[in-house]
């Protein structure tokens, strides 16, 4: 066995091969040093083998930790996953001695919740499965395991509730997973991009989450979850626009305030998308839209600004986007400096210098803040983009252009399907009653 393995691998110092013999048996073992936990190996193999209180072959045959390997093709893949290969009396076994380096802190970092569970998924697939199994103790929970990526061979697990899952969606997802033809896959985002297929899709049609509670909730709703080894995030699909606008806290907090917050969230999406465009169209096209006093005060604050409103808007939006972008990437210590400098320049100096109007500063900050309200990161990015085409329409058409642009956005949203499920559809009570749903006749 050892000779064969040595021919299969390139010269690698951490590939350890040993031939061992005790009183009655002769074994060959091979493992990759850097992937394995040496103490595990010595505990399971070296110590019992050298003591030889029990014939080693019996140990191997009875223990469930040693799995028989039937195909020679499996050798390399199991070695590369941190397994130890054991050859004993013409039979081959593998033993899992893998050592995973991962972040130990398990608190949620991206999707924090005030009073909800604080536990997050870890980068280990097994731990992730453990967390979800614990939260979803149902026999109907199905777990399929696969590897993705021809080189990275990332292990993934597909989880769904057998009774609740939509079989059409499941088939669709499985087909698309098979079609993935990529070398390296390391993050959930890459998998999502490969799954969705349409590279130019603006809105996210999957939900990437690190919260086990969210994942188990989605499984209970009949959704499919993909967990990845080496990524702290699970992929939930199919999702709708409204799922992406939901935060977990909405389910944990009281009815009235969480509903009110939800309404405000949608309102803030409307603001962040339309406000810059509306500013342009009101200042440059229809100042008479506002009541006279307000129109005057806007015009007064703009009196020092020497250029048309859309240049003002573009300058300020560029500044705020750069500020946001910079503060995301900067280390924590410098981050606060960046925001202070940016805030001061944007807030005071620009206005006093007569570069922008003070109303424009309010507009910019409202746009930025309302965008942060969106709970999902991918969604927030998509919505952040939406304002630019509207600005273009506002420059040429005023309010009419903005309204038509919004209409087109609605149509675009409605025509998106997340793995065959309508993305932007309101579900009233009527759909859950005995009455049939739309599109039943033609789909069958």
């Amino acid at each position: 066995m050892i000779n064969r393995i040595l021919t299969m691998f390139a010269e690698a110092k951490d590939l350890i091969t040993k031939r061992l013999r005790n009183d009655d048996t002769y074994i060959e073992i091979a493992y990759i040093d850097s992937l394995c936990d040496e103490s595990k190996i010595s505990e399971a193999i070296f110590v019992p083998f050298s003591r030889n209180q029990k014939p080693f072959q019996e140990i191997v045959e009875f223990s469930s930790e040693f799995k028989p390997v039937h195909e020679m093709t499996e050798w390399t893949s199991s070695l590369l996953r941190g397994y130890v290969l054991v050859h004993i009396n013409g039979k081959y076994y593998s033993y899992d001695a893998s050592r995973n380096i991962r972040i130990e802190t398990q608190t949620t970092q991206v999707e924090s919740s005030i009073q909800g569970p604080q536990l997050a998924l870890t980068e280990d697939l097994k731990d992730g499965l453990n967390l979800i199994r614990n939260r979803y103790p149902e026999p109907s929970l199905a777990v399929e395991e696969r590897t993705l990526g021809t080189v990275s061979k990332t292990r993934i697990a597909i989880l769904f509730d057998n009774r609740k899952v939509n079989s059409k969606v499941l088939k669709n997802v499985q087909k698309k997973l098979l079609e993935i033809n990529s070398d390296m896959l390391h993050s959930a985002g890459e998998v999502v991009r490969e799954l969705v297929g349409n590279r130019k899709q603006l809105f996210p049609t999957t939900l990437i989450s690190e919260r086990p509670d969210r994942i188990s909730n989605s499984i209970a709703q009949g959704k499919i979850v993909i967990l990845m080894h080496g990524s702290m995030f699970g992929i939930i699909l199919p999702v709708t626009f409204f799922d992406l606008m939901n935060s977990m806290d909405d389910q944990y907090e009281g009815f009235w305030m969480s509903r009110t917050l939800l309404i405000m969230r949608y309102f803030s999406v409307l603001l962040t998308v339309t406000l810059p465009a509306m500013y342009i169209s009101i200042v440059s096209y229809n100042p008479e839209l506002f009541r006279v006093q307000l129109a005057f005060s806007i015009a007064g604050s703009r009196s020092a600004v020497p250029y048309p409103s859309f240049i003002e808007v573009l300058v300020m939006l560029f500044m705020i986007e750069m500020l946001v972008e910079a503060s995301v990437r900067l280390p924590r210590y410098i981050g606060s400096t960046g925001t202070t400098v940016g805030g001061l320049i944007l807030g005071q100096a620009a206005q006093q210098a007569g570069l922008v109007s003070s109303i424009m500063i309010i507009v910019t900050s409202v746009v930025a803040i309302t965008n942060f309200v969106i709970p999902n990161n991918a969604m927030a990015f998509a919505i952040r983009f939406l304002k630019y085409p509207l600005i273009l329409l506002a420059v040429f058409y005023g309010i009419t252009g903005v309204c038509i642009g919004m209409f087109i956005y609605f149509v675009y949203l409605s025509s998106i399907r997340s793995f065959g499920v309508p993305y932007f559809r309101l579900h009233g009570k009527l759909t859950r009653s005995a009455e049939g749903d739309l599109g039943q006749v033609s789909s069958t």
């Binding site: 096209y285 229809n286 008479e288 839209l289 506002f290 009541r291 006279v292 307000l294 329409l393 058409y397 005023g398 309010i399 009419t400 252009g401 309204c403 038509i404 209409f407 087109i408 609605f410 149509v411 409605s414 025509s415 399907r417 309508p422 932007f424 559809r425 309101l426 009233g428 009527l430 009455e435 049939g436 749903d437 739309l438 599109g439 039943q440 006749v441 033609s442 789909s443």
Partner: protein, 381 residues
């Protein structure tokens, strides 16, 4: 799925203002408009109920499929062409009228043709979407716009500027004999049910029309508000002087609180949405009718990829709209709208009766079949 039916009923009902229905009725206010309106309520309701309940006998089938199954191709194809052109013309009238409204009330500096191009581009994109997507948009937009409708209506009804005496005066002309023009215009309020001729594909097989009382109630309300509120604002004589009567009426209202003072702007945003919705649906229906004339056509509710044919057909619709807007001016557009309303009225009646007859035959066939079954069963016993 009744709500989708009522949404499609609602947006047509609201678009009547862009279709010059109030203008025609107001013109005939002393010569039979009021009695035509009263007559149109039972008649329109009857058409709605006859057509809708007949369509439920053909679950999942649109009018083209129903007709092609029963009649030879050479006979049905011209019918499809006629239906498509009627829908197309209706949407073009509304679109052109609204581009002029925007030019008059919103952006007097921009030419109405430039606005029209943008509207056309938006409608081409929207009409090429799948039927199912359009239903979702319909629901969304109706829900978003409903507060605006309620607000404008409430504002109109509860302001002190509304002159109820003028309305009384016009209402007293109820005894004058009705005429065809105003009768056809008034029945337009109910004509949203014709959406079912394509949307029936999407409705579930066990669809039954519930809450039928909504139809006459809402129809009556819409008809009377859209005619009598302008009369209340502008008086019995002055009301005749405007072409875009409702824009002027909305501009007569004022909001005392809040950022915006003039109701006109809310009204225009509302009708911009409705116009886009109406044109999108009109073109989509026309497109589906045209597509059904091809032999290899298969009705598809939610295709994964937008067929190129959709783009071609809707693109040519857009081109036709541009040509129309060049050839026809505002006054002619108004006159064409009046004629369109009459032609539409007759096609509506014919198609309702036709579908009713087909449904009747289907029912009698299935009844006789079940009778035969019963006989067979008794014989076998």
């Amino acid at each position: 799925m009744n709500r989708y039916y009522y949404y499609s009923f609602l947006y047509v009902l609201l678009i009547n203002i862009m279709m010059f229905v109030p203008n025609i009725l107001i013109q005939n206010r002393f010569t039979g408009g009021v009695s035509s309106m009263l007559l149109a309520i039972p008649f329109g309701t009857m058409l709605v109920l006859v057509f809708s309940s007949s369509m439920t006998k053909f679950p999942g089938k649109a009018v083209p499929e129903i007709l092609y199954e029963r009649y030879p191709r050479w006979f049905v194809t011209p019918v499809m062409w006629v239906l498509a052109s009627i829908y197309l013309l209706g949407s073009i009238i509304v679109l052109v009228a609204f581009s002029v409204v925007i030019n008059r009330f919103y952006n007097p500096d921009t030419s109405s043709t430039i606005v029209l191009y943008l509207l056309i581009a938006a409608c081409i994109y929207c009409a090429t979407r799948t039927t199912l997507s359009l239903l979702f948009i319909l629901e969304m937009l109706i829900i978003i716009n409903a507060p605006l409708v309620v607000f404008v209506l409430g504002k109109a009804l509860f302001t002190s500027d509304l002159d109820w005496d003028a309305m009384h005066t016009v209402a007293n002309y109820v005894t004058v004999k009705p005429n065809l023009d105003s009768f056809a215009a008034a029945t337009y309020i109910f004509s949203g049910y014709l959406n079912l001729s394509i949307l029936n594909r999407a409705l579930p097989p066990n669809f039954r029309l519930k809450h039928r009382w909504i139809i006459p109630l809402v129809g009556t309300l819409a008809m009377f508000t859209s005619v009598f509120i302008p009369i209340g604002f502008h008086g019995t004589e002055g009301v005749d002087e405007y072409l875009f009567i409702w824009s002027i009426t909305a501009d007569s209202m004022k909001m005392e609180f809040g950022f915006i003072e003039r109701v006109l702007f809310l009204y225009l945003i509302l009708y911009l949405n409705l116009t886009l919705l109406f044109t999108t649906f009109g073109w989509h229906k026309a497109m589906e009718f045209l597509k059904s004339t091809s032999k290899s056509y298969k009705p598809e509710l939610d295709a994964d990829k937008t067929p190129i044919l959709n783009w071609v057909i809707c693109g040519s619709f857009g081109l036709l709209t541009i040509i129309y807007s060049i050839v026809v001016d505002e006054k002619q557009n108004y006159n064409i709208a009046g004629k369109w309303l009459v032609i539409r009225f007759f096609t509506e009646v014919i198609s309702a009766i036709w579908i009713f007859w087909l449904a009747y035959r289907v029912r009698s066939k299935s009844k006789s079949k079940s009778k035969i079954n019963v006989k067979e069963q008794t014989e076998s016993k």
